[in-house]
C-alpha cells in the first residue's frame, strides 16, 4: 500500500448563509475564545447549516479521487477545508506532504499586475527562496505558454488565459497533493489536454489528486475512486464509475415505472426473463390484449418515447395484416440487441386497422404510459451515455 498523503476523519464544516449573521457568530466565537472560554460542541444556530458533514477520506500517493455531486453539494467546501483555507467545525485533517490547490481560478491574482509579476509575487507568498522562485516562475511560464501575454496586465487576459496561469501556478509548485476544483473544464481544449497529461505524469510520479468536477467522463478517466456528496454528506463512495452511475441515476427525471392507463392493451414484460432490459442485450416485449370482437387486417406495434414523452425515440410496427380473435391473448416480439441507451423510457402500444389507420386499441397515448428502465452496467461509455442523455446506442466496429 502506498504512503498516506491526506486523511480526513469525520469532517464537518458549519456555514452560515447570511453574511451578517456569519460575522456576528464569528465575533461572538472569537470573543469567547479571546476571553479564554473553550469552544462549545458544534450546535447549529439560526441560519447555520452543515456544508459538510461526516466526511471520511483517505488519499494515498499515486491515487486520484474524484468528488462529485450537484451544485451546492459541498465539493468546493471540501477542497477548501482540505487545503486548510476553511475552518472545520469538527473532525480532523492529517496532511502528509505539501498541498497545492486550484480551487477558484484567478483568485489571488492581482489584475493590475502582469502575469509575470503575479507569478513572482505568488512565489514570494509561497515562501520560496530566490533561486527556487526563479525556477518555479520559469516552469509556470513554460507550462502556461502565454507567450508575450505574460508581460501584459492580468486585466487584459481572457478567462481561458487566467485559467492557464492559475493552473500552472498551482501545479508547478510540485506539491505532493493537488486539489483541483473544476479547473480542467476551462481554457481551450489543447490546454485541457495538456493539463490531463500533466495529471497523468503527476500521478505516475507518486502525486495525489483530489478532483472536484462536473465533467463526469474526465472524472472516470482520471480517477479510480470517487465520493459523491449530497447536501454536504457522503452519499456514495466507491469506484469512480459506480459513483458516477449513482449520481446520474439520482438525477433522472422519471426514476420508477408508472402504472399505465386502464386499457385493453397492457405491457406485461420488456426485457429478459426477469423483466430486466439491458443495453445491447436481447429483450422480449410482451403485451396482453383483450378484444370484445374479432378483428381482421390489423397490425400492431409499439413506440418508445423519452420519459417526458416529448421525443419519440423509435417505433417498431409490424405492418403485416393479421387477424385477432375476440378474447384475450398475448403479443410477443423479440429485440436481439436492445439499442436503447441506459435510461427511462415510456412505451406506447397500439393495435390499428391497417387499411384505415384507425385505432383498435391503444395504450399510453391519452393517459400515462408504461415506463421501462433500460440498464447498463456502470462503465465510462455507459455513464457518458447517461450523462449526456443519449437515447440510442450504435454498435460499430472500427477498422
Amino acid at each position: 500500500m502506498t504512503a498516506l498523503r491526506l486523511r480526513a476523519t469525520d469532517l464537518a464544516v458549519v456555514r452560515c448563509a447570511n453574511r451578517s449573521r456569519a460575522a456576528w457568530y464569528a465575533l461572538v466565537d472569537s470573543l469567547k475564545s479571546f476571553g479564554g472560554s473553550r469552544a462549545a460542541a458544534p450546535r447549529l444556530r439560526p441560519g447555520e447549516f452543515y456544508a459538510l458533514d461526516g466526511i471520511d477520506l483517505e488519499l494515498r500517493a499515486g491515487e486520484a479521487i474524484a468528488v462529485i455531486g450537484e451544485n451546492g453539494a459541498g465539493k468546493s467546501t471540501l477542497l477548501k477545508a482540505l487545503a486548510g483555507t476553511l475552518q472545520t467545525s469538527r473532525g480532523e485533517i492529517a496532511r502528509h506532504g505539501t498541498v497545492g490547490a486550484v480551487i477558484e481560478l484567478g483568485e489571488g491574482l492581482n489584475p493590475l499586475l502582469t502575469g509575470r509579476e503575479n507569478i513572482e509575487l505568488g512565489a514570494l507568498l509561497k515562501g520560496l527562496r530566490d533561486d527556487e522562485a526563479l525556477a518555479y516562475a520559469n516552469r509556470v511560464f513554460v507550462f502556461a505558454d502565454l507567450a508575450e501575454a505574460i508581460d501584459a496586465p492580468l486585466e487584459s487576459y481572457s478567462s481561458g488565459m487566467i485559467a492557464r496561469l492559475s493552473f500552472a501556478a498551482a501545479a508547478m509548485t510540485q506539491p505532493d497533493v493537488l486539489l483541483i476544483d473544476e479547473a480542467l473544464s476551462v481554457g481551450d481544449p489543447a490546454f485541457q489536454r495538456k493539463c490531463v497529461r500533466f495529471i497523468d505524469d503527476f500521478l505516475a510520479r507518486g502525486g495525489s489528486i483530489l478532483l472536484a468536477s462536473h465533467n463526469l467522463v474526465q472524472v472516470q478517466m482520471l480517477c479510480s475512486q470517487a465520493i459523491m456528496l449530497v447536501s454536504g454528506k457522503p452519499a456514495f463512495a466507491g469506484s469512480a464509475t459506480d459513483a458516477v452511475r449513482a449520481l446520474v441515476e439520482r438525477n433522472r427525471h422519471c426514476d420508477r415505472p408508472v402504472e399505465a392507463e386502464a386499457t385493453s392493451l397492457r405491457l406485461v414484460r420488456f426485457g429478459d426473463e426477469a423483466g430486466k432490459a439491458v443495453t445491447g442485450k436481447a429483450a422480449v416485449l410482451e403485451v396482453d390484449y383483450t378484444l370484445d370482437h374479432h378483428v381482421d387486417d390489423v397490425c400492431w406495434g409499439f413506440e418508445i418515447w423519452t420519459a417526458d414523452q416529448l421525443q419519440c425515440v423509435t417505433t417498431a410496427q409490424d405492418m403485416r395484416g393479421r387477424e385477432l380473435a375476440a378474447g384475450s391473448g398475448t403479443l410477443r416480439c423479440r429485440v436481439d440487441r436492445l439499442p436503447l441507451a441506459p435510461g427511462t423510457y415510456a412505451i406506447r402500444l397500439n393495435i390499428i386497422d391497417r387499411r384505415s389507420g384507425t385505432p383498435v386499441a391503444l395504450a399510453g397515448f391519452a393517459g400515462a404510459a408504461s415506463c421501462i428502465v433500460v440498464e447498463s452496467p456502470p462503465s465510462i461509455a455507459s455513464n457518458y451515455q447517461v450523462e449526456l442523455g443519449q437515447l440510442a446506442v450504435v454498435e460499430v466496429s472500427w477498422t
Partner: protein, 263 residues
C-alpha cells in the same frame, strides 16, 4: 532549547517576514502606482492643507497665540493635524489593507499578518516623512525645536501603535461588515474634534474622556521645543505595548473564524 536558540529562531523568522513583507510591499506600491496619478504626493497633501489652514488662521487672527499655549496657529494646526493623521492612518490601516488583500486572504494565498506587515511599511514611511516635514517646517514658522525633539519619533510610534491596536480590533469584523469602517470614520471625526488638533482641548473635557489628547499635547511639545515628561512617555509606551499585545492575541484567536466566513 536555550534562550539564545529561541532568540536566533525568532530573529530568523522576523528577518524572513521582513524580507517577504518588503518585497510584497514593493509589489503593492507598483499596483497602487498603476491606480494613482499623484502617488506619493498624497502623503504630503494633508500636511500642505494643514499648513495652509494654519497660515490662514494665523493671518486672520481668529485664534490668538495665547489660546494655543503660545504657539503660532500655523504650528499648532500643522503639528495637530500631523499627529492626528498618524493616529488615524494607523487606526484605518488594518482594515484598508485587509480589504485590499481580501482575495489573497480569502484564497489562503496570504496571511493576515503579512497583509498587516505590508501596511506597516506604508505607515512607517508616512510617519518618517511627516516627522521630517515637521522638523523642517516648524523652524520656518518661527518655533525652534530643542533636545525634546528626540522624543518626537517615540511619541509618533506611540500614536501609531495605539491606533494600530484599535484598528486591529476593528479590522477582523470590518472584513465582513462595512458598518465597522463607517463607524470608525465617525468615531475618528468625533475624536478629532475633542482632541487638541485645531484648538486646545476644552477645559470641561477631562483627559480620561480622550486619552489621546495628552499624547498629542506631549508630541506637540516635543516638536516645538517644549519640555516633555519621560515618565509620561514611558507610561504611554507601556500602555500601547499592552494594547498591541491584546490586539495581536485577538488577531491570532479570531482570524480563522472571520476568514472562514469570508470564504
Amino acid at each position: 532549547m536555550g534562550f539564545a536558540a529561541v532568540g536566533a529562531q525568532v530573529a530568523k523568522a522576523w528577518t524572513e517576514a521582513f524580507r517577504v513583507g518588503w518585497k510584497v510591499y514593493l509589489f503593492h506600491l507598483k499596483t497602487r502606482r498603476r491606480r494613482n496619478w499623484l502617488g506619493l504626493i498624497w502623503v504630503i497633501v494633508p500636511l500642505l492643507a494643514a499648513l495652509g489652514i494654519g497660515l490662514g488662521l494665523q493671518s486672520t487672527r481668529l485664534i490668538g497665540q495665547s489660546g494655543l499655549g503660545g504657539l503660532p496657529p500655523a504650528v499648532f494646526v500643522l503639528t495637530g493635524v500631523t499627529f492626528w493623521q498618524v493616529f488615524a492612518d494607523a487606526v484605518l490601516m488594518p482594515q484598508r489593507h485587509l480589504a485590499s488583500f481580501q482575495t489573497e486572504l480569502a484564497g489562503g494565498h496570504m496571511t493576515v499578518e503579512l497583509a498587516l506587515l505590508v501596511g506597516l511599511f506604508d505607515l512607517a514611511f508616512a510617519i518618517l516623512f511627516r516627522c521630517l516635514f515637521l522638523l523642517l517646517v516648524v523652524p520656518l514658522l518661527g518655533v525652534s525645536p530643542s533636545l525634546s525633539a528626540a522624543a518626537l519619533p517615540a511619541f509618533l510610534i506611540v500614536l501609531a501603535t495605539g491606533g494600530l491596536a484599535i484598528g486591529i480590533f476593528a479590522a477582523l469584523p470590518g472584513m465582513l461588515i462595512d458598518d465597522i469602517g463607517r463607524l470608525l470614520a465617525v468615531l475618528l471625526a468625533v475624536a478629532m474634534f475633542t482632541s487638541p488638533v485645531f484648538y486646545r482641548q476644552p477645559a470641561f473635557i477631562p483627559d480620561w474622556v480622550n486619552p489621546l489628547a495628552p499624547v498629542i499635547e506631549a508630541a506637540r511639545a516635543s516638536a516645538t521645543g517644549l519640555p516633555v515628561s519621560v515618565v509620561f512617555l514611558v507610561g504611554c509606551v507601556v500602555v500601547v505595548a499592552a494594547m498591541l499585545v491584546l490586539a495581536l492575541s485577538w488577531l491570532k484567536s479570531g482570524q480563522r473564524r472571520f476568514l472562514s466566513a469570508l470564504r
